[in-house]
């Protein structure tokens, strides 16, 4: 077991799946010799050859077309879309084609594609490099959407995603790439694609978050603990489907909940979670469902990110309000 960054954990997972299955292929812009603009695929072309790890021309729709066509000829593609903002160029490929294809064949053909893409605010990138665009994809039947919040889950989830015969959108958080280290086993292990995880146990209030906001929620929980408010923190890990069982079990214990996301508030993952809770658990709640989300503006210019992205203080304030309701 070694201490590993989030990005190294993903590289380690990719190394594992390339080693395990000769039909896996990694491709995208700059993923070959350069090892990706963030070095996520570094060393993999040297180890597995240009036949398995290769650069594409600069066109995202073409990359998705490759992934679908390679699936049709028996391959297991792992395309990279260099930044999630660029998925708009591949929207037909992901949503219009890939997600529907298993259904369109009546289950006769599989499209085991894992699309890796970095996203998330807080690193002062250029425009269209940080947006949280998961809302577009979690409303797409046929597509799974997962996003790890720590190195251990990053490796386990990327392996599960690649081994899944369903198409998976694997969202990698830019800010987490090198900002945290974890004990990550060298050997192969998997993290299930459709399960949330209780990352801190508590009894007074449930904080539901995902990706970088999990760390913010954990910091908020520390602050709340000083005032004897015991917060339970859940990391969704999977955004489609959402593991409501884990959330409901927690609410049965705490009877209060705050749902947190970095994305804008409108029509987001938090809204889905809140509506699921309202539909099934409203009689178990002692307070309204709290929500923490970014405001409904376009993603801010980099200098103002800090004022826009929800942080531990925002979560703490909302949690106090709900806890004291």
């Amino acid at each position: 077991m070694a201490k590993m960054t989030y990005i190294k954990a993903i590289t380690s997972g990719l190394d594992q799946v390339l080693n395990d299955d000769p039909k896996t292929l990694i491709f995208g812009e700059d993923v070959g010799k350069n090892g990706g603009v963030f070095r996520t695929t570094v060393g993999l072309q040297d180890k597995y050859g240009e036949d398995r790890v290769f650069d594409t021309p600069l066109a995202e729709s073409g990359i998705l077309g490759l992934a679908i066509g390679l699936s049709l000829t028996g391959w297991r593609p792992i395309p990279e879309i260099q930044f999630m903002g660029f998925t708009f160029e591949a929207m037909d490929g992901i949503v219009g084609q890939l997600a529907r294809d298993h259904y369109r064949f009546g289950g006769q053909k599989n499209f085991p594609v894992t699309i890796r893409t970095p996203f998330g605010g807080g690193t002062h990138t250029a425009e269209m490099h940080s947006d949280n665009l998961e809302n577009y994809f979690v409303s797409t039947p046929g597509l799974r959407v997962v996003t790890p919040a720590n190195p251990y889950d990053a490796k386990g989830l990327i392996i599960s995603a690649v081994e899944s015969d369903d198409p998976v959108l694997f969202m990698e958080n830019l800010k987490l790439y090198r900002s945290m280290k974890d004990e990550v086993p060298d050997d192969k292990y998997t993290v299930p694609l459709d399960s949330a995880k209780v990352v801190r146990e508590g009894s007074d209030i449930t904080l539901v978050a995902y990706s970088a906001e999990v760390n913010e929620a954990l910091q908020a929980a520390d602050a709340l603990a000083k005032d004897n408010i015991s917060a339970e923190v859940i990391d969704l890990r999977s955004l489609s489907p959402i593991d409501t069982d884990t959330i409901f079990a927690s609410i049965d214990k705490t009877h209060k909940v705050v749902v947190i996301q970095e994305a804008q508030r409108m029509a987001g993952v938090g809204a889905i979670v809140a509506s699921d809770i309202a539909e099934e658990k409203i009689m178990s709640l002692d307070a309204p469902i709290g929500r923490v989300a970014a405001p409904d503006s376009v993603y801010p210019f980099a200098q103002a990110e800090g004022d826009w992205i929800p942080n531990a203080d925002d979560i703490e304030a909302k949690a106090r309000e709900i806890a004291n309701y």
Partner: protein
């Protein structure tokens, strides 16, 4: 232009000459039925030529019968194919069963030739899942999003290359309007970058619903667009089945030998409406425009060549038409006997491993369906 005198780059000349290599579409039989390339024609046996004619009569009859079924309300979306018989039958017959076909919605006749049944074609039009499932696995259902089949072709061709399959290519169709899509360029360019085996067809039938070919691009030909991607291309008389077949066959050989992709523009015409769903060509084109194309009909010219060779008679053709009509009526009966579709099945096919919410919905619909 420096000071209005010396010219460093002569853009006007470049513009005026860039289509030169494409100015003369290749042809074997001209519109009067005259053989203009006897050497190529001589490569084809009498049986092959008769088979070409039979296939065109088959496609024309399929079209007419399909229009009848449409009027009777027995079909859903259907894109008429009359006029495009030489382009469609001439091309598809140049490919082998192991080649991978990526069709668009006007390509049902090629799909049927490639191993989907007529009944499957009807089921696709009617909106039934069995219309997407074929005995030949080397085929995908008709693409609706224009251009998507082109980028997917790049993946299929690369997959064929990586699998080390010899004597196997991907082939794909779109229309003249399709060449304006970004995916059209991306698909051809990716395939070219990897030198993967594919043949890209552009059936230029003059119209993208109501928008004429000249409004899609200022390029004089669509074939010349391939040059920018480093891909050889040709413009062929799409009403001449022998010419279409010959270029398709040679393109397939070129691509299968590892030389990268080829683009083929067939010059053809859509006699009827864009689709069976209410399009009326009289809103956007004239009888005067249509007439020369109707006169260039691919069946008329092949009929003349075969009649001159004493290989064909009207009597023979009339009998064939009746046989084909019976075939299509039986196929419609087969299509109409397909089992009713179930929402629970749709839910089961959405994911390989159903999500908890989908599992619950499957149970709900199965309960309803068993009542």
């Amino acid at each position: 232009m420096a000071n209005g005198s010396k010219q460093f780059v002569d853009f006007a000349k470049i513009k005026a000459t860039m289509a030169d290599p494409y100015k003369h579409p290749v042809q074997v039989i001209d519109r009067e039925g005259k053989v203009v390339n006897p050497d190529i024609l001589a490569e084809y046996s009498d049986d092959q030529l008769v088979d070409f004619m039979k296939k065109m009569v088959w496609e024309r009859t399929l079209h007419e019968q399909t229009m009848n079924f449409s009027r009777q309300g027995r079909l859903g979306f259907y894109a008429p194919t009359a006029g495009e018989e030489a382009s469609e039958m001439g091309s598809v017959t140049a490919f082998k069963e192991q080649d991978f076909l990526l069709p668009a919605y006007r390509d049902l006749p090629q799909m049927i030739q490639h191993g989907a049944s007529v009944a499957k074609g009807f089921l696709w039009s009617k909106g039934h899942i069995e219309g997407n499932q074929y005995d030949n696995p080397n085929m995908i259902f008709p693409q609706i999003i224009i251009g998507a089949q082109y980028v997917e072709t790049a993946g299929v061709a690369l997959g064929i290359q990586k699998n080390g399959d010899k004597d196997r290519v991907a082939f794909v169709y779109t229309g003249d309007g399709g060449t304006s899509q970004g995916d059209w360029y991306e698909g051809i360019n990716f395939t070219s970058a990897y030198q993967a085996p594919a043949v890209f067809f552009v059936q230029n039938n003059g119209w993208a619903i109501s928008v004429p070919r000249r409004k899609q691009t200022a390029a004089e030909t669509l074939a010349q667009k391939a040059v920018a991607m480093g891909v050889p291309s040709v413009q062929v008389d799409g009403m001449d089945i022998v010419a279409v077949h010959e270029v398709a066959k040679e393109a397939r050989e070129f691509a299968a030998a590892g030389n990268g992709p080829v683009v083929i523009e067939t010059l053809t015409y859509r006699y009827g409406a864009h689709s069976s769903a209410g399009d009326d060509p009289s809103r956007y084109r004239t009888k005067e425009e249509e007439k020369p194309w109707f006169d260039a009909d691919p069946l008329i010219r092949m009929r003349k060549v075969l009649t001159d060779k004493k290989l064909w008679s009207q009597d023979q053709e009339d009998k064939l038409v009746e046989e084909y009509k019976d075939e299509f009526k039986n196929a419609m009966k087969e299509a109409e006997a397909a089992p009713a579709q179930k929402v629970s099945d749709f839910l089961k096919w959405t994911y390989n491993v159903p999500t908890p919410a989908v599992k619950k919905q499957i149970a709900e619909f199965e309960a309803k369906e068993s009542k």
